[in-house]
Every structure is written in structure tokens, then in C-alpha cells.
Subunit: 139 residues, 3 copies
């Protein structure tokens, strides 16, 4: 049994879902393991990690619109706005979706379903550079 | 240290919580490990995994009703409806609850609390066959 | 490769976020590993685990207020109230935020971002004693 880890950097394009499946699968493949457990950890409090459908583009736009509705920008609603009106909603959306994912590696492949993609969910209006810690343990 | 994994299949009965604690514990017990980490990963984007109370039935009906309210079926609200009005709400509820759980194995038992059960949360109206990847690493 | 685990006990002060970063980091440091995977698992259905900003206090009060709004106490809304009006909202907030977190250990440190703290989120009105299973696997 062995392990390896790294920090991957992603440049987001502002609010919305950025697919990172290829980068994650590429790094995992590079470890040349047959079985194990991959863990992703987003090192921020205003961006999160999500498994979502990788086919229909409308799923992503609907999903982004949904989070705009349930955790809206609203200057009246929050005390905290140190970095602007998108600051506190970003924390809330991160709390609702989470910053960590673990995916088993089985027979040399991540156990993602056919329609599952891995997404980095940027919750701030502006583009940010985001760090995702990636860890794989197995053999 | 060693590991094992499998894909377990579950037939859901349509929208709602399906308890899978017994199947998960049964598979873990079969690995005959004393300590380790169990990871469950649901390979779908319209069903999720949840730890919830395993005693009062009303908790489950209230929980199902709550998700119907915060991510409702509403043809006006979503662009994506390739598979019907329950398609997009299913993706949203999956995003809110998550597709992965890891549970430590301590002294030969999963560290579940007394009132915790493991549930597969089906978000589509109709029954589906769902795959859950299960991975255990330990000794 | 080796592993260790324990159950840490925390006394909450009633509803709200209790930072537990120091206790978790302290236990992990005590294992004297250089690389690995730490997993936290909250053994309850009315308290959860959350990574959130550890700087501005207002983030926490806004976050607590947000969950009061989206999963409110409301005797009309729920059938289940065995332990009072805060019982069912506590289960809902636990479902939305989750009971498990895994964090890679890289170069002898948990891969938490600069502004990330680990919080135990008490969802009941009254103080409770909460158990968090902690597991570390690595070398």
C-alpha cells in the first residue's frame, strides 16, 4: 500500500461550475494504481466541489440559478460583507455543497458513474485561483 | 494494511429514503477487518447518500417533504427537463445531500451512532436500479 | 502504512457553530505522521461537521441565521416533534451540511486553507455532548 498527494491549481471564470474531471483523472492515472481511494479537498470557503451531470449544459445553468435563489445576494440579509455582496452567499453555498469528495479507485478506474463529472463550484462573482488538495492511497 | 471493494446494487421504490445500513454493514463485516475506513459512493446524479435517524418513520416523511419544498418540481423554474419534471429537482437534491460518505471502522464496527442509519435517497419519481461503490481499507 | 482512531467528545453550547480545529489538529499531530488521510465522523443526526471561515465572527452568525430561515422551526411544517420544535429542523440541517469530512495530511500538516476552520454545528437549542469519531491512516 502506498500514497501520493499534490495541490492542483484551477483558474475559475467567476461564478459557476468548472469541470475538472479530466485533470483529476489525469493525475490519478499518473499514480498507476489499480485500487485505492482518491480524496479531493478544496482549500477555500467560497468555492466547493460537486459531482454533477456532465451531459446537458442546462443542468449546470439551472443548478447555478437554484443556488442564486436559495442563498441569494441580499445586502439586507447578512451582516458580513467584507468582500462585497457576493461574499456571504458564497460561504452559504459552500456550506450547502461541501468542500470534500472521496472516490474509490476500482480496477484502475475512478468509480464515477457514466454521467458523473467532477466540478469545482466557484461562488464568487469574479475569477479566482483555487487550490484543490488531491490524495490517493492504494496499490 | 489491505483493501477490498465492490459495487452493490439497490432497487429503489421511487422517490424517498431507502435504508441500506444492513447491506453495508453486512459487506463490511464480511471483510473481517478490525480497523479501517469505509467509503460509499453513489454512481448517479439523481440519487444520493444520507445518514439519518433510523427510529421514527416521521423523520423520513418530513425530510422527503422538506426537499420537495426547497427544490420543487416546477416546469417554470428549470430549462432542463429531458427526462420529465422530476429530472432537474433530482439533480438539485443530489447536490444538496451528496453522493459520498466515509465511515471509520473502529474495534471491528462501523462508527455509526446509535440512531444513525445509512440511506440511499432516490430523487426520481419512479423506481431505479442504483449502484453504490463500496470500498474498505484497513487491517 | 498505519492507522489510528479515537472518539473525541465535545460539549456544545446549544445551537450554533463550535470550532474544533485545535482539538482535531492536536490529535492528528499526536500521531506523528507525515502523510495520510484524516476522517471525521459525527455520530449524531442533529449535529453536523462543517468547514467554514475562521476569521470574521459575522460569517458564523449569518450562517446560523441562514439555516434558521431555510429549515425553520415551524410546528405546522413537520409531523415529527418527539423532542420538541427544534427536533426536525435539526435533522434537516444535518442532512444539508453532512456528518463527515476527510482532509488530506500533506508534509505533516492537514491541507486546510488559511481561512478554513473545522466546526461542529449543533442544531439543537440546548447544549449537548457530541461524539466525533476521528480516524487517520498514513505513514
Amino acid at each position: 500500500m502506498r500514497q501520493d498527494s499534490t495541490i492542483l491549481n484551477f483558474q475559475t471564470r467567476g461564478r459557476g461550475l468548472l469541470e475538472i474531471t479530466r485533470e483529476i483523472v489525469g493525475w490519478a492515472d499518473g499514480q498507476a494504481m489499480d485500487a485505492g481511494l482518491l480524496t479531493l479537498f478544496c482549500r477555500h470557503t467560497s468555492a466547493s466541489l460537486l459531482i454533477q451531470e456532465n451531459a446537458a449544459r442546462a443542468v449546470r445553468t439551472d443548478l447555478e440559478a437554484f443556488f442564486d435563489r436559495i442563498a441569494p445576494e441580499d445586502p439586507q440579509a447578512y451582516e458580513h460583507d467584507d468582500e462585497g455582496p457576493d461574499d456571504m452567499p458564497a460561504h452559504l453555498r459552500t456550506a450547502l455543497t461541501g468542500v470534500q469528495l472521496s472516490i474509490p479507485l476500482i480496477s484502475g478506474r475512478l468509480a464515477l458513474g457514466t454521467w458523473q463529472g467532477i466540478y469545482l463550484f466557484e461562488h464568487r462573482r469574479r475569477p479566482h485561483r483555487r487550490e484543490v488538495a488531491v490524495h490517493l492511497m492504494g496499490e
